[in-house]
């Protein structure tokens, strides 16, 4: 699928979800309400693990820097600080 077709598909499912809640009167069963609550948790976790190791044999330091970023995220809940510390740790560890 080309980029623009993919982009249109993303637009359709995103705008569709946003509009559905505002237009349609409905009640979701409790099970699916809880399912939706867990979706970001599961998807974000699933995006982290396959990409932490990286393709260039730097797995060890990448995992260490990611763990440090996790601690910063846990302590500060601050997105920019987490990314900054994670990257800084990664570059520092590479220099060692």
């Amino acid at each position: 699928m080309s980029f623009w077709l993919t982009c249109l598909g993303m637009l359709a499912v995103t705008f569709g979800s946003r509009l559905a809640g505002l237009l349609v009167r409905m009640r979701l069963p409790p099970f699916w309400l809880r399912f939706l609550h867990f979706v970001p948790i599961a998807v974000f976790a699933a995006l982290v693990t396959p990409s932490v190791e990286g393709p260039r044999g730097e797995g060890g330091i990448r995992v260490a820097a990611a763990a440090l970023a996790g601690v910063v995220a846990w302590r500060t809940r601050h997105l920019a600080a987490t990314i900054a510390v994670g990257l800084a740790a990664f570059w520092l560890l590479r220099l060692l």
Binding site: G9, S17, F31, A42, T49, G70, T82, I83
Partner: protein, 207 residues
């Protein structure tokens, strides 16, 4: 609103730099911010493009991530009276942040909701443009390890969501599942599979 703008700006910047280094053009990078306007879905899409995922996998993951907006719409539609046209515009610009602020500040009128949404849209797109320009001139992104921004950005999104033990358990289960699936399944399937099964596990564990 200020803290919120300061929150989304670095995320839009990181998204745009990643998008450019995954091979998206300036126009494509900006188009996702203008047309889709959903931060975590945009970063996921870029990461999935980088893994060689197909368009269908990207669209399905976007759907999985954004279908929660149905809930925001239902909740907002109950407290803020809107005409049909206002619903269309309001829905196009609806995000986690706009919903959160509108509800937290007790928004009762459409102009308040719209003001919040438009300001976030402008900040998101302006910062996307800056990031896309910067991302295009980073000399040797491979050597810098720019792709490492990707897992770190999702750690930054994930960790604040983990308050209960069951949420930590779901995150670990989904993370391990995706990591194992990625050994043999290409593209976006590991994320979709681990995302759906993880969320099912969470809903089942809290029954």
């Amino acid at each position: 609103m200020m803290p919120l703008w300061l929150g989304v700006a670095p995320f839009a910047f990181a998204y745009a730099v990643l998008a450019r280094n995954t091979g998206l053009s300036l126009v494509e990078t900006q188009a996702l911010s203008l047309l889709v306007f959903a931060g975590s879905a945009q970063v996921s899409a870029v990461g999935l493009f980088g893994r060689g995922a197909g368009g269908l996998e990207v669209v399905l993951t976007t759907f999985l991530l954004n279908v929660r907006h149905v809930l925001y719409g239902m909740s907002l539609g109950r407290v803020v009276p809107m005409t049909r046209r206002e619903r269309l515009i309001g829905a196009y610009l609806l995000t986690d942040e706009a919903y959160g602020v509108s509800v937290a500040r007790g928004a009762r009128s459409f102009p308040f909701v719209l003001g919040t949404e438009v300001s976030l849209f402008l900040v998101w797109n302006a910062t996307t443009l800056v990031g896309a320009l910067v991302g295009g001139v980073i000399p040797d992104p491979e050597r810098l390890g720019v792709d490492f921004v990707f897992p770190v950005a999702f750690i930054a999104l994930l960790v604040p969501l983990l308050r209960l033990r069951v949420e930590v358990a779901v995150a670990i289960a989904a993370g391990v599942t995706a990591w194992l699936l990625a050994r043999w399944a290409p593209g976006g399937l590991p994320v979709l599979g681990a995302g759906v099964s993880g969320a099912l596990l969470g809903a089942w564990l809290t029954r």
